[in-house]
Amino acid sequence: MTQFLSLLLNGISLGAIYALVALGFVIIFKASEVVSFTQGSLLLLGAYTTARLSGPLGFWLAALAGIVVTALAALIVERLIINRLRGAPVISLAIVTIGVDIILLTELIRRIGSDILNVPHPWGGKSFRIGEVGISQNRLIATLVAGLLIAVFFAAFKYSSWGVAMRASAEDGETAALMGIRLGRVSALAWMVAGALAAVAAVFLVGAPTPGVSPSVYTVSLRAFPAAILGGLDSTGGALAGGMLIGLTESLAAGYQDQLLFLGRGFGDVVPYVVMIIVLLVRPSGLFGTKELTRV
């Protein structure tokens, strides 16, 4: 029972981090109809910047710098490439972000090399215990921060003029443009927010129990993809639900791996994809995604 509870707790915290990244996918998709494969390398960029700068600047400034740098990088990608391709087929847009991702990722991996860069979190690698159930402090703080950020985001999405503009342009871009909403600006902002969210996730992702910044952080971020997809790419609430679902199943599958041994060791790493495929079989546009209707 204690094992189950602690797996549950860890799953939720992991899910919160996934939800942050998945939210980035969803925001970008809503604002610019692009499925951004660049998100993974942006996340790694955030982690790398934070790790490199935390020596001279200290953790807090470095984390801030990491978030700013990542948001700016996302902005540059949007302005230089995505903005020029407005109206291109969805597949071309996805492929172009893959291209950007390759370039950025190759450079980052080259810089990181085979080292594992450490991020000196002020809360260290200690763990927090309630009775028998334990969770690393880093993950606990991550859950709280992610929860806060997501709440802020939902509020902004609902009440702020940016949120209204974004929902309007996602609903019907042409009408929104006619109403005086500047689609370019909405899309640019969306990319920046997505970049910042990825960087925040990265800061926590490289803390305990993960050893530090290494290229493998990138593969972790790829698991946020199923989270976004199975929640429904155009549903912000879906990203949250998808993130939680993926986090929980991954944590449970990893925790009970001895019982699941017939599926092979390390099954926890693939379980997000299995869940995604099963969900998509039943609901092709994700749990909360809008069904595509075709009118003739």
């Binding site: 499925v35 490439i81 020029r84 391709l85 291109a88 087929p89 969805v90 597949i91 071309s92 996805a94 492929i95 172009v96 893959i98 291209g99 950007v100 991702d101 390759i102 370039i103 190759t106 450079e107 080259r110 790829l222 993809f225 199923p226 997809i229 790419l233 092979g264 060791r265 390390g266 099954f267 790493d269 693939v270 997000p272 994809y273 299995v274 995604m276 495929i277 998509l280 079989l281 092709p284 546009s285 994700g286 595509e292 075709t294 003739v296």
Partner: protein, 407 residues
């Protein structure tokens, strides 16, 4: 490359092209014939490194043509190509390999003739595609892209854990190919043609050339046939396609079948080219490389896919070979870029630039030059020949191209 119908820009040029077709098709025919002759006699003049690279390229061409049918022609984004390559490669290795053990690892194998292994590899890859197609047929565009991403990771997991068949993390050796007692190896039988000893590399070259040509020919005919037209309609508008009487679900399933069979064959060739298989050879990066090939070559164009495959698959090998001559590229740890890194930068950049500035890819370049009133010879088409022949100037013997480790 007239079968490439891809993008809107090209639509404008199509009408003018049709009127000028006869003269151009003759030039085209001549170019193809010259290219074929050059490729056929290349093993007599060219050293082993280039033959081995050539064989790897032929394998990649088969895979790229297959992916292009799916992504370029039908508009179904798939990142699962590496998975289907893996199915082909593993099936071949399992069916034709011998049982036995390396150390504590027990390997199973059926020991059947390699040709059977190859056919089974293709069929099983097709079957895997067919099994995935119900999912594929239900999903649209980008959802399919990400769902197929899942297959790659699941495939990696299976490769790593199903040790008796796949050899696990370290992989296993692939059996050499033979055809009715004729071995594609250094001897057995010894073979001399025009005074040149035909060893494994030379023999495999012809095998690869034959298979790549067959794959090319089949795909071109498919695209011109009724199903091919149906697939293109499907890409442009599913509604329009179904109104015209195309069974959307069934065609999506079938194109997945064909594409994954191509991938399976390509996987078998890959196993032969490297001589062994390992999980790292079938990761997400491989899927992305294939995507890069068809984007670079031009979505929807069979010839373009072949060209893209040539560039993307040969680039890291050539970089590695000429690391000391090329600027910016250095060996590992000597500063500069490693060969794999340089190649990745280049093809990442190529993807971005192609989509930004020339969505029709390399296949679209001749048309672009023609529009400007320049020579329509299509310099791009002769590129493989140039690559193959220019090599005779170097004379360092070489081993198998180590593709898996180049990254």
């Amino acid at each position: 490359m007239s079968e490439s119908t891809a993008t809107k820009e090209r639509g404008a040029t199509r009408a003018s092209r049709a009127t000028a077709a006869p003269g151009r098709s003759r030039t085209r025919l001549i170019v193809m014939a010259v290219l074929l002759v050059v490729l056929l006699i290349a093993p007599l003049y060219v050293e082993e490194f280039w033959l081995r690279t050539g064989f790897a390229v032929f394998g990649a061409i088969v895979g790229a043509i297959g992916l292009n049918l799916l992504v370029g022609t039908t508009g179904q984004l798939s990142l699962a190509h590496a998975f289907f390559l893996a199915v082909g490669a593993i099936s071949y290795t399992y069916v034709s390999g011998e049982s036995g053990g390396i150390g504590i690892v027990k390997l199973a194998g059926l020991g059947l003739p390699p040709l059977v292994g190859m056919i089974v590899g293709v069929l099983l890859a097709g079957l895997a595609g067919l099994l995935f197609s119900p999912i594929a047929a239900r999903l649209r565009g980008i959802y399919l892209g990400v769902a197929s991403l899942g297959l790659v990771f699941i495939g990696q997991h299976v490769l790593n854990t199903w040790t008796s068949v796949t050899g696990g993390f370290n992989g296993r050796a692939a059996p050499e190919f033979s055809l009715f007692g004729f071995h594609f190896a250094n001897q057995d039988p010894l073979l001399f043609v025009a005074g040149v000893e035909f060893r494994e590399a030379e023999r495999l070259w012809y095998l690869g050339l034959f298979i790549a040509l067959a794959a090319y020919w089949f795909a071109r005919n498919l695209l011109r046939s009724r199903p091919g037209r149906a697939l293109q309609t499907l890409r442009d508008s599913e509604v329009a396609a179904s109104v015209m009487g195309v069974n959307v679900q069934r065609y999506k399933g079938r194109v997945f079948l064909v594409s994954s069979m191509y991938a399976g064959l390509s996987g078998v060739l890959y196993a032969l080219s490297i001589g062994s298989i390992a999980p790292e050879s079938f990761g997400l990066e491989v899927s992305i490389q294939y995507l890069a090939m068809i984007v670079l070559g031009g979505l929807g164009s069979v010839g373009g896919a072949a060209l893209g495959a040539l560039f993307i698959s040969a680039m890291p090998l050539v970089f590695q070979r000429y690391a000391d001559v090329l600027p910016f590229v250095g060996g590992a740890g000597e500063g500069g870029l490693a060969a794999g890194e340089a190649a990745r930068f280049l093809y990442g950049l190529a993807i971005v630039l192609v989509i930004l500035f020339e969505p029709a890819g390399l296949a679209g370049l001749p048309a672009r030059f023609r529009r400007r009133g320049r020579d329509p010879g299509g310099g791009a088409i002769t590129e493989p020949a140039a690559a193959a022949t220019s090599s005779s100037t170097t004379d360092v013997p070489s081993d198998r191209p180590a593709q898996g480790s180049s990254t």
